[in-house]
């Protein structure tokens, strides 16, 4: 549920060079805080172009097959899909891997795990089927999409892009760092906040399953570094281009918003990328509040609250947040999506460094 644009691209690491050439259109993303020119595209060989075209054809075949399978599914009803069990989704996912569309394959696999989501399962299943359908359709008609959206679609389908935005040099406060592992890969997600640019950046790094990725930036400290954004509208992923000096303590905290402000930001992000499942948000003046079996983050000054996501509820970080707050308002950074808020870092009411919650 926390995936962002390029996070599936890891499986395609060997093809990185090839995919870079498939992004013929390279519009610089607006917002040129760094004020530097975009990196020039590498020269494209005819052989590479041919390979890229062949891969796009295979993905198109995969997307068409996926559409067919989704149509069959809806014709017979989701009830019958539930009865068919996980093997149905596994087989479809394998077909998408064959089609070299790992983004589609991962989404399909997630559908398989949704079938056991309990009372919500039919609703979640329909939502995700519909969004998958939207993605397949977007791929098939990518020529008619504005380029930033097309870049998002390419990345969601599983084509790796190279960072191409203008480099942004800033004091980047390390907000949070956590690893997600599956059977093949450990993905490390590092969230940064730029002091001068005000931008929020996501760095991804990878390690083989069971091994920690090597990029370890210290949470709570600031790093003077140059980051390069990846293509794709509104998406936060950037690459670490260069670091200047050692991480240093900082008093900078990202400015915060309210819970309704956070949801508004998520809603706005869907305009650029309807497949977004969360956005990075800093909430200010919120306090954790127990709510039945779960927890909420409630605005101190408004009668509003966001639920804490089920995944965050079972982490020890939640108790650190409760202890830090002590019933008083605190500032919290995290990921906000349709299933609630996942707290990742918080600041004490008084002075002090960010406290990691993940």
């Amino acid at each position: 549920m926390t995936d962002q644009g390029g996070c599936r691209t890891a499986t395609q690491v060997p093809e990185r060079a090839l995919d870079a050439t498939s992004d013929e259109l390279r519009e610089p993303v607006s917002d040129t805080a760094g004020g530097e020119a975009p990196t020039p595209a590498p020269p494209v060989s005819p052989a590479a172009l041919r390979r890229a075209r062949r891969r796009a054809e295979r993905i198109t075949a995969g997307a068409t097959e996926l559409e067919q399978r989704l149509a069959d599914l809806l014709r017979g009803g989701l009830i019958s899909a539930e009865q068919a069990g996980a093997s149905l989704w596994e087989e479809t996912a394998a077909r998408m891997v064959d089609a070299q569309a790992p983004g589609l394959a991962n989404k399909v696999r997630e559908l398989g795990s949704l079938a056991s989501a309990g009372a919500d399962a039919p609703v979640r299943l329909l939502e995700e089927c519909a969004l998958l359908h939207l993605l397949a359709q977007a791929w098939l008609r990518r020529d008619r999409l504005p380029e930033p959206l097309a870049a998002t679609v390419r990345s969601r389908v599983g084509l790796t892009a190279s960072p191409d935005g203008p480099a942004i040099r800033d004091d980047w406060l390390v907000l949070a760092r956590y690893d997600i592992s599956d059977s093949r890969l450990t993905t490390r997600r590092t969230w940064l906040h730029g002091r001068a640019s005000g931008r929020t950046a996501l760095l991804l790094s990878y390690g083989a399953a069971g091994r920690a990725p090597d990029l370890t930036l210290p949470v709570g400290l600031a790093v003077d570094a140059e980051l390069t954004p990846y293509p794709g509208a509104g998406q936060p992923r950037m690459a670490l281009a260069e670091r200047f000096g050692a991480p240093a303590p900082t008093a900078v905290r990202p400015p915060g918003t309210t819970t309704s402000g956070a949801l508004a930001r998520y809603g706005a992000a869907l305009r650029d990328d309807p497949w977004r499942e969360s956005v990075p948000v800093t909430l200010d003046r919120v306090m954790p509040v127990p709510d039945g079996d779960g927890w909420q983050l409630a605005d101190a000054d408004e009668d509003h609250a966001l639920p804490v996501t089920a995944a965050a509820r079972s982490r020890p970080g939640l108790w650190r947040l409760v202890a830090l707050s002590g019933g008083a308002p605190v500032r919290v950074f995290g990921e906000c999506g349709p299933w609630g808020f996942t707290p990742l870092a918080a600041w004490p009411p008084g002075p002090g460094e960010a406290v990691p919650l993940c």
Binding site: I79, S80, L125, L131, V289, V322, A323, W339, V355
Partner: protein
């Protein structure tokens, strides 16, 4: 999604429900309103569902907040220096199982340093960083020995937090003043009410707290309800008078000698015998003195013992247990109790004006020495008499000190506890220099931490000798562990020479040399860490 938030727009849910129902049943069976049946029906349904899904997500609204928590009480203590706060996080992260594997290698056992860290932080009166409280509570949950120091350091916010998590309920039970009816010792009415109405554990806590503050008030409180308490409760309450025991307690204790319960009577007698000026101590002195005398008619003055022939009712009333345990003679059993309860000040006068040393040195006729000396040991411990303890301990280098003499190692450890810290350390150092480490573990356990320099040097030298002799290193792991926690951190620099892996003697256990080296490595690393740890907690030096 619906559980996240309030709904978006009134018209959407109906439409959405319709789409979900159609999707569940299949478009072959049902066509949603506004779409045409046929081949395009599934695609139309998914188009519509995608639009609604994105609209629903884009239009999410926050939920209503549940009832907000009451704010945690303020912790007025100063916050930790930043380096100390980071150190605490590291110590707490080193949980059993977290690092995996039973063998430590050369890495320090951080969890073992936590008690010292907590003690030092408490001594300086720092407040715990709030974000460390969950890990502190988890650590205290797993280790009951940590609880008092951890909860004291954790402070009022930890109790606030513990009410929210059933895993941490223990903190509410364990913390003095943690319960809702925490006694305020300046509030006589509150104290009285809690004493009258409280649960047993609350009452013991109250009595103990009050006793340490105002001994007479605690005794008065207990006397008020004494007659109505149950026997086992009387025993526990009486035991809490041990702290701050003084001559003023004698009348109450003397009355308790007539208690219905034998255990209460015995405890009252034991407490009275620890008051050398009490009437009971005087009665015991007369009885004991009648049994022990110096026979001057022999070539060498010798102590002769005539154990009591009966245990009369008066003796029983004074706490002497009439029935000997299986395997012990009645008369020696009674003698032991009399001598144990008699004030030690009795003996120099009774035995020819001799000093304790001279008395202990006298031969004892007819094999009574063991019984007599053991009873004097118990008396010295009970009466906390350093002069007699010193005499009974003897010279640490004496050959019998190392072996099974009249005084066992456990008794020595208890005798040592009556000496001041410096003398205790010097005695144990002397013991180790003569007898090595194999018997020293128990004695080291009663020495003050950090070890005084002579003791530290004696331990390190003995370890070094043991290693050079090719001793089996695993038999020293207990002492090594103690040394890691108790050696003065400033000794670390003296240990550097020990870090090299020496040539292995031919008869040494295989792998012993590298194990020794690893153990010394860990010892040095741990000492350095402790040094850094304590320095971080020290207040900053004012600039000159």
């Amino acid at each position: 999604m619906s559980r996240t938030t309030a709904t978006v727009a009134a018209s959407l849910p109906d439409h959405w429900e319709d789409l979900v129902t159609t999707a569940l049943l299949g478009t072959d069976r049902r066509t949603p309103p506004g779409t045409a049946p046929g081949a395009k029906a599934p695609s139309d349904l998914l188009d519509a569902a995608a639009a609604v899904t994105v609209r629903r997500r884009a239009g999410l609204r926050p939920a209503r907040p549940a009832e907000r928590l009451r704010p945690a009480p303020e912790d007025p203590r100063p916050s930790l220096p930043p380096a100390a706060a980071r150190r605490l996080a590291v110590l707490l992260a080193d949980r059993p199982g977290a690092s995996g594997g039973g063998r430590r290698g050369a890495a320090p056992d951080l969890m073992e340093l936590l008690p010292q860290w907590l003690q030092a932080a408490n001594a300086r009166g720092y407040a715990a960083p709030p974000q460390a409280l969950p890990a502190l509570l988890d650590a205290a949950r797993g280790r009951t020995d940590l609880r008092p120091a951890a909860l004291r350091f954790a402070g009022p916010r930890a109790l606030w937090l513990a009410r929210l998590n059933p895993d941490w309920r223990f903190a509410l039970r364990a913390a003095p003043g943690g319960g809702p009816s925490a006694p305020d010792l300046r509030d006589p009415l509150g104290i009285r009410r809690l004493w009258q109405e409280g649960l047993f554990a609350e009452r013991v806590t109250l009595l103990t707290a009050l006793r340490s503050r105002d001994a007479a008030a605690a005794r008065a409180l207990l006397e008020e309800t004494w007659a109505t308490e149950r026997a086992e409760d009387r025993l526990m309450f009486l035991d809490s008078l041990r702290a701050g025991l003084g001559p003023d307690d004698e009348p109450f204790l003397e009355r308790a000698l007539a208690d219905r319960s034998r255990n209460v009577r015995a405890t009252a007698a034991e407490l009275l015998s620890a008051l050398p000026a009490s009437a009971l101590a005087g009665r015991m002195a007369v009885r004991a003195a009648a049994c022990v005398a110096v026979d001057r008619t022999r070539d060498v003055p010798t102590i002769v013992v005539e154990a009591p022939h009966e245990c009369d009712a008066a003796m029983e009333r004074d706490g002497v247990a009439a029935t000997a345990p299986a395997g012990r003679g009645e008369r020696s059993w009674w003698l032991g109790q009399l001598v144990e309860a008699a004030p030690l000040g009795t003996w120099p006068g009774r035995l020819g004006g001799r000093t304790p040393e001279e008395i202990v040195a006298l031969p004892v006729a007819d094999g009574w020495q063991g019984e007599l000396h053991a009873a004097w040991c118990r008396a010295a411990v009970r009466q906390r008499d350093a002069a007699w303890s010193r005499a009974l301990l003897g010279e640490p280098s004496a050959p019998e000190a190392g072996g099974p003499g009249a005084v066992s190692l456990a008794e020595r450890a208890r005798l040592l506890a009556t000496l001041d810290a410096g003398e205790r350390a010097a005695w144990v150092a002397g013991f180790i220099e003569t007898h090595g480490l194999s018997e020293a573990f128990q004695l080291l356990g009663v020495c003050a931490v950090p070890w005084a320099p002579p003791l530290g040097r004696a331990v390190v030298d003995a370890l070094n000798i043991a290693r050079d002799a090719g001793s089996y290193p695993w038999s020293f792991s207990g002492v090594m562990g103690l040394a890691e926690r108790c050696l003065d951190p400033s000794e670390a620099s003296r240990l550097d020479a020990l870090l090299a892996i020496p040539d292995e003697p031919e008869d040494a256990a295989p792998g012993a040399a590298s194990y020794w080296s690893e153990a010394f490595q860990r010892l040095v690393t741990t000492l350095r860490l402790r040094g850094a740890m304590l320095a971080e907690l020290a207040p900053e030096e004012p600039a000159p």
